[in-house]
């Protein structure tokens, strides 16, 4: 390789390496500040600031959704497996909002450690399944549960 071209190649490598180091350090320092939301565990541990607008997310706990019969008020709990966070909201929830699915709520944490949400978003997972397959999987799961139940009662 021509010495001049070799020099230019080194210049190109230098640009890429320098940019990577600089941006890498920025990303490293950003760290968890670049998160879009806090988990219930982080909020329970006091990592989320009080009295400011934050976002919290987790899996909506099965059976936790309580809707008011005469208004748009709704209350539900989200979990990350370790901690629970109660969220209250007044408004229309997204179509994909459901128990057992992930949701992200934005608002302020009050003195009772309840998130008073001004906005609720549904977080979709990376899985895509046709309805028949999803139904079949649910059915298989139900049958397995029933089978376990009969096994248990049979053993007693």
């Amino acid at each position: 390789m021509h010495p001049l071209r070799k020099q230019r190649l080194q210049f190109v490598i230098l640009i890429v390496v320098a940019a990577t180091v600089v941006v890498g350090l920025v990303v490293y320092m950003l760290g968890q500040n670049a998160n879009y939301f806090y988990t219930p565990s982080q909020i329970a541990a006091g990592e989320a600031p009080q009295g400011v607008h934050i976002r919290a997310g987790g899996m909506v706990v099965e059976g936790s959704v309580q809707r008011s019969p005469d208004s748009l008020d709704v209350q539900f709990a989200v979990t990350d497996g370790a901690s629970l966070l109660v969220i209250q909201h007044s408004g229309i929830l997204p179509d994909l909002f459901d128990e057992g699915e992930a949701a992200i709520a934005a608002g302020m944490i009050d003195e009772n450690l309840v998130l008073q949400a001004t906005e609720v978003l549904a977080k979709h997972d990376e899985k895509y399944t046709p309805p028949e397959v999803a139904d079949a999987m649910n059915e298989a799961y139900q049958r397995k549960q029933e089978y376990k139940q009969t096994q248990k009662s049979g053993a007693q």
Binding site: H2, I15, Q32, A34, Y36, P94, K123, E126
Partner: protein
Amino acid sequence: MNWLTNWSPSWQWFHRLGSPRWFYQTTGRWLPWLSLLALALLSTGLVWGLGFAPQDAKQGNSFRIIYLHVPASFLALAGYYIMAIAGAIGLIWKMKLSYMVMKSAAPIGAALTFLALFTGAIWGKPTWGTYWVWDARVTSMLILLFLYLGVLALQYAFHSNEAGNRASAILALVGTVNIPIIYKSVDWWYTLHQPATIKLTSAPSMHSDMFQPLLVMILGFYCFYTVALFLFTRAEILRRERKSTWVKELVIGAQH
């Protein structure tokens, strides 16, 4: 870097490859076949994906935007590397053709990035409940759009082609850092955007009836990208080489 120095005798092919005239003639022969292939793949993928693939259990039919969103995002990211590598070759070998490829990749990449952001917003409203969020994935993708536009803007910011080429190439190289960040953003941070469905290391978390048309669309987008890059580069060759005899002869021949 001795291995590079000792490799010198075989560099000739590389310089022949850098001839705009050779590129113009060769791609001219490939273009009809590539366009046909792109058209066949894209129409098959679209009809299959939009018309025949099963709908999603939770999202219903709105998931079908994936057949545009994911291929556009793939090529927006892959196309950035093409632009940056073309810029690096231009910087090192002072190859005119390489700079022309770099310049041509910028508007195509910007259009694909815009398509990815736009389809994502349309999908986001019924799925997430909002058109736009400032999470790590969406924001880093927006930065990609600005990088593409920046490379394009620098091309026109200088009086001489040479200065514009060098500035564009340096910006393109610096911006390569953003590509792994976009790719890994959903794993490094909590984002509203879901993690990758298609991974190199494991099976896709998508039913095969839905995945097969997506694969056809991705291949179709690769072919379409190549066609678009060839067309843009050929136009750029004619513009920048307009004073050379072969372009003059080509234009005169076309008029008769």
